[in-house]
Amino acid sequence: MKKSTCICLVVALLACVAIPFAVHAQDKTIRIGAMYPMTGRAGLYGIDSVAAAEMAIDEINGKGGVNGYMIDATFTDSKARPAYAVRVATRYITEDKVHFLFGVVSSGVGLAVTEISRQHKTIFIGTDHASTQLTVDKMQPYYFRVSNNTFMSMAAGALYLKERKATKDWTTIAYIGPDYAYGHDQWNELKYNLDRLGVPYKVVGEYWPKLFEPDYTAYVTSLVRDKPDILVSGFWGGDTVAFLKQAIPYGLLQRSLYFHPDAGGNYELMSAMGDELPAGLVLGARHYNNWPDTALNRNFAAEFKKRTGRFPTYAASGAYVGVYAIAKAVEAVGNPDDTEALVKALENLKLQAPWDPDGFTSYMRPDTHQLKKMQAIGVTMPNKDFPPATMMLGDWKIYKPEDVMPPNDYIKEKRK
């Protein structure tokens, strides 16, 4: 009796352990473990990313999934904290048996999660964080980024400034950006690219307010004194809004060209500032609702608006493309379980994204796992097609991926 009870218990225990595996093995599901900040300042990007990822999943599953596999994503608040996100990622891998880690807005969190991805050999699709390190010196085989890195934005920025010199001469430049890796990387990468292009410049000021600094008044008055021809900004999100609102009455934006190539052109700036946003600011972003004017991009912005009631920030496009990248890879391999084959498939990924102009398709760079895409920089001008924004970007300058990707010697140097 005792023995049979024991056997029963063992069988029951084994069943408990084995059934989830059996279910996982039988159900045809592509499991994605996504992490996005959903509270605080970065919450807007996280919530937009979740909405866009769900939109892509609904589109794909609505057409019968991929090779009979349906996509199932779980979204967890990363709280924008690396240590917490590491725990979530580990749980996704060990308990939920996800095929893909996905998401992340903050580069700090991205750098932590890529380490978990490497240790567990689970593919991590980066959709929004921009630190170049992830695809250069900290690159690992299971990490892929579908949005651009800061190097690409700043290389495009340097090309823009070089062209500007030919039409309207400038010599002095100042920088203001948040005092952490993201802010410092942008400035270093811009200077590196200006030097590489042989553009002469004189730095007249460098300012490092802390992230989420509420009050920039003292920085603005100091920048007015410095009188740079070009004021380069490395803020993101609400910090850009606060800085511009405080700079406007001081006439800073009339005295210097406001130049913000990585996150300045994000839609939330236009939507938050409305009529207050001055014309003539030179801004860039990872995706624009009004460029390129293709059916795919128009449809993306309109569908997002239909789902959420508002137009997307650029974070949304990264998550949307990320889901399609997974679908493409699984389609090529035939199943979501063969990780090494999926890595190969992602290395050869070609994908029509909302940010691709006609005649161009984004593609993966195999040696860095960084998606190659066109970079565009625009100038603020009146445009009421995307309310509540009343100013949007226009007068675009477009840069090809081969001109803005980190050059091989840069990668070699960083990977030493």
Partner: protein, 293 residues
């Protein structure tokens, strides 16, 4: 060094100081009278910004009327919070820990409520008509709205001085800050005094939020960003010392302004350095007289 630059940087410092003071004064007042450290005080600043946005940008109410309405509404929310929740934990053993935990919970709750009501998109409030321009002095501009903030800050200081020094409720509040029990024994309704003080303090925080909204970003999470700087001001001025908070705010505002101008790489360090020095050499606050035990 150009004199107009020094002047404009000093005005920048005063703008920073005034908004800091309006938040820090409430924090210090609540601590002084009730010995409550209201960690959620920044959240009242944030809902003040949202109320200001709702009244002024959405419903089209006059900016200054919106400012007053925000003060009243945020004050009522503050009194409700004190009456329904904080009052329950007064006098418990290790009350301080409970206060911090409970008020921290309110930061998260208020953040999420704001997100549910107004969404996560950044909101913006335009400067009121008549205060959109700037005075020009030589090569430098001084925005009229910044001067308005400084003016309102001074008015708040004078009004608060009058209430605290010259009116009976003010004297009761001051007495309660010295000894809650004795004041209660003398027949004063101490819990009601505490609720009113909480209301006044949160109303000031809320009005600071509305005043700051045209200069800053109205976003969830804005509360936690102002609370640290305000706490520095309160500690430097002396916990519970109203005038200390004012002088502390001016000190931090000006040090930040000139730090940015002359040592931009280290600018964010200075206020923390002052805090450390005060904590080591005069922990009761720069502007508090040392008590003789």
């Amino acid at each position: 060094m150009d004199a107009t630059f020094i002047f404009s940087q000093a005005v920048s410092g005063l703008t920073i100081a005034t908004l800091l003071f309006l938040v820090a004064s409430g924090l210090t007042l609540i601590f002084g009278v009730g010995k409550v450290f209201n960690f959620a005080h920044g959240s009242f600043y944030m809902i003040g910004a949202y109320f200001g946005y709702q009244f002024s940008a959405v419903w089209g109410t006059n900016f200054f009327l919106s400012l007053i309405l925000t003060g009243i509404c945020v004050g009522l929310v503050g009194m409700l919070m004190e009456f329904l929740f904080l009052r329950r934990i007064y006098g418990r053993a290790n009350e301080g820990g409970f206060q911090i935990l409970m008020t921290y919970c309110f930061i998260l709750i208020i953040d999420d409520l704001v997100k549910l009501i107004w969404g996560t998109e950044y909101k913006s409030l335009a400067r009121p008509p008549g205060f959109q321009g700037a005075f020009q002095i030589g090569d430098t501009f001084i925005p009229t709205y910044n001067l308005l903030i400084i003016g309102i800050g001074f008015a708040a200081v004078i009004l608060a001085w009058y209430i605290l020094a010259r009116t009976r409720p003010g004297r009761v509040a001051r007495a309660a800050s010295v000894d809650r029990e004795i004041v209660g024994v003398l027949g004063v309704n101490v819990p009601l005094t505490m609720t009113l003080v909480f209301g006044l303090a949160t109303a000031m925080g809320g009005m600071a939020g509305t005043l700051a909204a045209p200069l800053r970003t109205v976003t969830p999470g804005a509360g936690i960003e102002v609370i640290i700087d305000s706490l520095i001001v309160v500690v430097i001025g002396g916990m519970g010392n109203f005038w200390g908070a004012w002088l502390g705010a001016i000190l931090i505002g000006e040090v930040t302004a000139f730090g940015v101008a002359f040592a931009p790489k280290w600018a964010t360090l200075f206020s923390f350095m002052i805090l450390v020095i005060v904590l080591i050499f005069k922990p009761e606050g720069l502007f508090t007289r040392r008590k003789v035990m």
